[in-house]
């Protein structure tokens, strides 16, 4: 199709304006790649007809893996033969999305040889997305990627590619080493990442502090959010500097504190750390004066997901505090129990959060061997429908079932 110049009147409108244009990106790739040229054509058709022109899925992949490649076929291949196969490869990014120019160029070279020349930096879960190639090119691309030291990320019912915030590499608030933990988890669970054996997807996201820059509480089945146990580190001289520079410490810091645990008398900031919920607001506002405490670790929360199937969930507290040095071992031990339970009782396409909704958090805690803690709830139950366990009630041999009740039972069984 490259011989006749395609007109893309609608998409051309998206080259205008100050924000960088994805249409310019596709056109740049199209100079060398017929697939990018046909992508442009098919996309223009979608813009004309207000509908997608991709077919549903298709199982393709590299040898021995059950995920990492999203099969994609055009539903108008006669018009756009160069995107009749247009599969995506998810490539597991390095923790924290750090690169050198050298390694980026080598990734580009591989994709120039084998694909459309189009990428996403990055996909929603964090992988490098190599956007569009043919079935024949999957294995050669994979071989070159692994020679460069890269591997595929997850898709389908697997442990999805874990992700981490910038962490201690460039953030003073990191309460644990998010990059190391993310990297260790990813390497520990390569089999779970590449070979679907779960009821559905399972995501880890590592955020170094409660600002949660990787949205773990909204998106991760196991959210690992850095926090601290002791007092906020406070530099009084720096507090005074902020005040001298014009910050209204009463209004912008104390009054915004969710538990009102701070007092400012015009000279001295006093924090009642027992009441602090570690929300990060005061630290965010005065990064030179306040820092997380020294006893660092993370809160583990479970069960976040988007709406499909039964509705969206935020993660909820599972273990209030794990010291930073114990995180990896604790998580490994914990997820082996969680995955066992989920593997046994989870329905097809049921995330762990939905399974917990279905069986109840107490039953889930019993199954994975954790004790209930008040930190797990926003409030105790407000309904009286308590499932008392048989071991907690006295066995009363005097109690007999009335004849009437017995008859009803029998009737029910017959139904």
């Amino acid at each position: 199709m490259a011989d006749e110049k395609r007109t893309t009147l609608l998409l051309d409108e998206l080259e205008k304006g100050p924000w960088p244009s994805f249409v310019k990106e596709i056109k740049a790739a199209a100079k060398a790649k017929p697939a990018a040229e046909d992508l442009l054509g098919q996309l223009e058709l979608s813009y004309e007809e207000k509908t997608s022109h991709w077919k549903h899925g298709g199982i393709v992949g590299v040898m021995g893996y059950g995920g990492g490649v999203i099969g994609r076929y055009s539903d108008v291949p006669e018009k756009f033969p160069n995107v009749s196969h247009f599969h995506t490869m998810r490539v597991n990014m390095p923790s924290g999305w750090f690169y050198t120019s050298d390694v980026l160029r080598k990734l580009c070279d591989i994709w120039e040889r084998h694909g459309s020349g189009l990428t996403n930096f990055h996909g929603s879960t964090g992988d490098i997305i190599l956007l569009g190639t043919t079935t024949d090119e999957l294995e050669p691309t994979f071989n070159e990627l692994t020679q460069l030291g890269f591997d595929l990320g997850g898709s389908g019912s697997v442990m999805r590619t874990p992700s981490a915030c910038v962490g201690p590499a460039r953030c003073e608030w990191a309460c644990y080493d998010t990059l190391a933990l993310c990297n260790d988890l990813t390497h520990t669970y390569q089999d779970e990442l590449h070979r679907p054996a779960f009821p559905y997807k399972f995501k880890f996201k590592c955020s170094g502090c409660p600002n949660d820059c990787v949205a773990s509480i909204a998106r991760a089945d196991l959210s690992i959010i850095g926090t601290w146990k002791d007092d906020i580190q406070q530099d009084d001289a720096a507090v005074s500097e902020y005040a001298a520079a014009g910050m209204d410490i009463q209004k912008d810091v104390c009054d915004r504190c969710p538990t009102k645990c701070m007092d400012w008398d015009g000279k001295k900031l006093t924090i009642n750390n027992r009441d602090c919920v570690r929300c990060m607001h005061c630290i965010n506002v005065m990064p030179k004066a306040l820092r997380p405490g020294k006893e660092k670790g993370a809160t583990l929360l479970i069960g976040a997901k988007a709406p499909i199937l039964q509705g969206a969930l935020l993660s909820s507290v599972l273990i209030p505090f794990v010291p930073a040095s114990e995180l990896l071992d604790t998580i490994k031990e914990l997820v082996s129990r969680i995955w066992d339970f989920w593997g046994e009782y989870g329905n097809n396409r049921e995330r762990i959060g939905e399974l917990i909704q279905r069986v109840g958090m107490p039953a889930f805690l019993d199954a994975i061997g954790l004790d209930p803690l008040p930190e797990m709830i926003s409030a105790p139950r407000d309904n009286p429908y308590i499932f008392f366990q048989s071991e907690d009630v006295a066995d009363n041999p005097e109690a007999t079932v009335s004849e009437e009740a017995e008859n009803k039972e029998t009737l029910k069984e017959k139904e």
């Binding site: 609608l10 022109h53 990428t119 915004r256």
Partner: protein, 359 residues
């Protein structure tokens, strides 16, 4: 090609350590504080006194290898070859020499990449694939993001909003972009039940799986023209598309009826108030490519009303907490409809269960 190399598998991602700037490697975990030097420019200071400067630029996420190579060239020229990307698809150059900040900013701007997205700015929109690469999308993603960011450009390059503002777009309810906790979420929605391909269904789908996939139990088995298939109880369908995900013979794309909804007031961060879901603001806006002006206007309106009325550090949800939803609808001029009142599971939790009313 041609040479025999051992086939490697399960090697996992390359170690991040080899990609860290030497100043970062030396000061790993030793950062004490940071300063905002300008929109999109940060300076982190270590206990050693070392400084690392970050210059952040927006990108369209969908990048050609030509642009990735351009970023690599800029990194070589200004940041020793070291760069990273953020969770919101921005590119960050990591510099040890502050004299390189301005020339790098100039080069980025000249190449069309705005510097900003820090502090009380609107950072880049996280989004999904849309018509570029997805079969179930009710709308495009990149096109709307481009049009909206064109209109909000100034809010990326300065940081004058009351608080940070995070926008996300997902092109269907699968929410690969997990937009459900954003200050403003743009969500593609379908509005008609699947059109069942009875001729295909039994060949390409497992009927029990299709039935089980429906969250409202709206799908039951049926025999159509002598073939085993399914039927949908249409009044029970809320167009989630989960049946289509498990079964290609249940397509629900519909150019006339697909479109967008707008949600507001969600957040992920724990700062001040707890993380929370976004709530419905506008139930439906038709698809209007190539620039979706109605969507752009709706988002800009919400941003402007918020910017005029919120207090310092109030994010959209926190601002609405203070003023109440009736006033949000009044100030934005958005029509309140029956669709805003929840009628799915646990709906009562969002009913006003007190006499606390503002007049």
């Amino acid at each position: 090609m041609g040479t025999q190399t051992e086939r490697l598998t399960d090697i996992g991602p390359p170690s991040y350590e080899q990609f860290l700037h030497p100043v970062i490697r030396k000061n790993y975990g030793k950062w004490v504080y940071h300063e905002d030097l300008a929109p999109g420019v940060l300076c982190h200071v270590s206990e050693s006194g070392d400084r690392i400067y970050t210059v952040r630029a927006g990108s369209p996420r969908l990048l050609s290898i030509q642009t990735v190579r351009l970023f690599a060239d800029l990194a070589d020229r200004y940041s020793g070859g070291y760069l990273r990307f953020t969770s919101r698809n921005n590119v960050e150059f990591l510099l040890d020499n502050p004299e390189n900040i301005e020339p790098l900013k100039r080069d980025l701007l000249a190449a069309g990449f705005p510097v900003g997205g820090t502090r009380n700015a609107i950072s880049n929109i996280v989004h999904t694939q849309g018509w570029v690469h997805c079969h179930s999308s009710a709308t495009d993603a990149s096109g709307i993001v481009k049009a909206v960011m064109d209109a909000l450009y100034e809010h990326f390059t300065n940081q004058k909003l009351p608080a940070k503002l995070r926008i996300a777009l997902a092109c269907c309810l699968n929410m690969c972009g997990a937009v459900h906790c954003s200050d403003i979420a743009i969500l593609g929605i379908h509005r008609r039940p699947p059109k069942i391909r009875h001729d295909l269904l039994n060949k390409v789908c497992e009927i029990p799986t299709v039935i089980a996939s429906c969250p409202t139990g709206a799908i039951r088995s049926a025999t159509v023209d002598g073939k085993p298939s399914v039927e949908v109880i249409e009044e029970q369908c809320m167009f989630c598309g989960n049946c289509f995900t498990v079964c290609p013979a249940m397509p629900l794309n519909d150019p006339e009826n697909d479109g967008l909804s707008i949600w507001v007031g969600g957040k992920v961060s724990n700062a001040r108030s707890q993380p929370r879901f976004s709530k419905l603001a506008i139930p439906f806006i038709p698809n209007n490519p190539p620039r979706w002006p109605e969507v752009v206007d709706a988002v800009v309106n919400i941003v402007e009303v918020y910017a005029r009325n919120a207090r310092k550090y109030e994010r959209i949800g926190e601002w609405i907490d203070r003023i109440g939803w009736p006033r949000f609808f009044e100030l934005t001029g958005i029509k309140f409809t029956r669709y805003h009142i929840d009628d799915f599971k646990y709906a009562g939790l969002t009913y006003a269960r007190s006499a606390h009313l503002r007049f």
